[in-house]
């Protein structure tokens, strides 16, 4: 089994994804196992394959127009007072 990914890598990625993980060992084993399974892609005969790029002409895009949304959208905001949303302290 290749050990390309270290526990520190998993911790680092979890931090980047802003996820608190209590038991990193549990995730380490499983994520490692799945990544090893992803290694099977190395055997696929795809060297000459090109990755298609999707192109959309400007004419196909919808008009760049402001469409007001239902006022009830604002009801979904938590900690909404008057015209403000209260968010956690930033530092």
């Amino acid at each position: 089994m290749s050990r390309l990914v270290t526990k520190e890598d998993i911790e680092h990625v979890a931090k980047l994804m802003k996820i608190d993980v209590d038991n990193i060992d549990e995730y380490y084993e499983r994520v490692q196992k799945i990544l090893n399974y992803f290694d099977s892609l190395d055997k696929a005969d795809i060297e000459s394959e090109e990755i298609p790029v999707q192109e959309t002409t400007i004419g196909e895009l919808r008009e760049d127009k402001y469409i007001p949304f239902d006022a009830r959208l604002i009801d979904q905001l938590k900690n909404y007072k008057g015209a403000f949303v209260r968010a956690p302290k930033m530092n």
Binding site: K18, Y37, F38, L41, E49, R86, K89, M90
Partner: protein, 482 residues
Amino acid sequence: MSLAISASEYIDGVKNGTLTAEEFVAKTLDQISKYDGSLHAFLSLNEKALEQARQIDKKIKSGQKIGALYGLPVSIKDNICIKGGRTTCASKMLENYIAPYDATVVTRLTSQDAVIIGKTNLDEFAMGVATEFSAFGPSKNPWNQDCVPGGSSGGAAVSVAAMECVAALGSDTGGSVRNPASFCSVVGLKPTYGLVSRYGLVSYANSIEQIGPMGRKVEDVALILNHIAGKDPHDNTTIDNKNEDYLKGIDSGVQGKKIGIIKEMSKGQGLDKNVEAAFWRAVSQFEKLGAKIEEISLDMVEYTVATYYVLTTAEAGSNLSRYDNIRYGYDLDLEGYEFKSYIAKARKNFGPEVTRRMILGGFVPSAGFAGKYLLKALKVKSKLKKQIQTAFQKCDFLISPTVPVLPFKFGEKIDDPLAMYLADINTVTANLTGVPAISIPFEIHNGLPIGIQIHANMLQEKQLIQAAYALQGTTRLPEVPL
């Protein structure tokens, strides 16, 4: 009056006055109160359903214009938005989220006077193959309550199988409509990518997922597709189907059609012997119906599960980054955290599978690993698409078992994500290539359902439904043992 009727039987009944929407909806609600305590197909019910049915009856009586669905009770997977109702995605993170708008599919069904009976259970954010990962507890398979109903649209399949509604909408990212359809002995269709609008579907992996209809009969699925398919200005990926009628000519049969057996899906490792035997019986039914059978090979199928999970975790990592507990979420004290740690703490409310996929979704597109995983997955996807297009030059349809195994017991695979992921091996190809595929109930083995999957080329839903209808005509399946 039986609840085990097809959508068209229901509509005919209401039209000619042998039944009313109100009595049928009332009976459906009775069925739910009787069985859903143990089956847990629903996460919430539409409290106005009975009143809406009553209004529909009133409209009919007074000769007013009425929509084509005449109060047909339909369930909606709880990752599809209904204005003013909860849309939880079976996640604690969205437990109290009230959608401020209707998904296009919901607007289209209700504008035809369908009655939305409730929102159905799923794996959290549609990530799973067993509806075991719902934050609100699993749904149970009505054929054997010790077994999983499949996933992630498990609740949708159960609601249809247990006659708690006539039809349902699920979503299919890697087989999430077809897999539970197979496990619960109902019909499930994953349409061509872009045929049905995804506006109002909570995104998990938007480049491949599709909303799909489920029903007890192929004709019910065709009827629902008639009303939900087509161009939507809210979803730029949608395709115009020019008001195709999928019911018209449904009994055209498969005489003279060429059907390809996908070699990599119909034999080999991991395929249950009983599923395999049922599959070959389905093949011989197609032969009797006048189809020509040949074996074809799609060698990229071997890599589809890895490809699927690489692509979906990358997209999930991005799509789920919006859940910061500021715009949506639950109450968490605002004091005493630094911004990043606040979000990290809030995300502890994600279940283990979502957390796992978000971590994987951080890895696969990252600088050191993108070439190793993401780019290779995109290349496999591209090659697979070419292979399936070549196959469709030779064949009208491709067939396989829907899921290689029989419905399994709760807890059996939950600790082994890889074993669970492999349940998707026959279904992910349709998602990665964008072609439509349908699962049809075919046999019941020792009380457990087995489904057969048919693929067709892009936008060939009409022919696909005809083939499914032909196979359905060869089966005589028992009633669900409730």
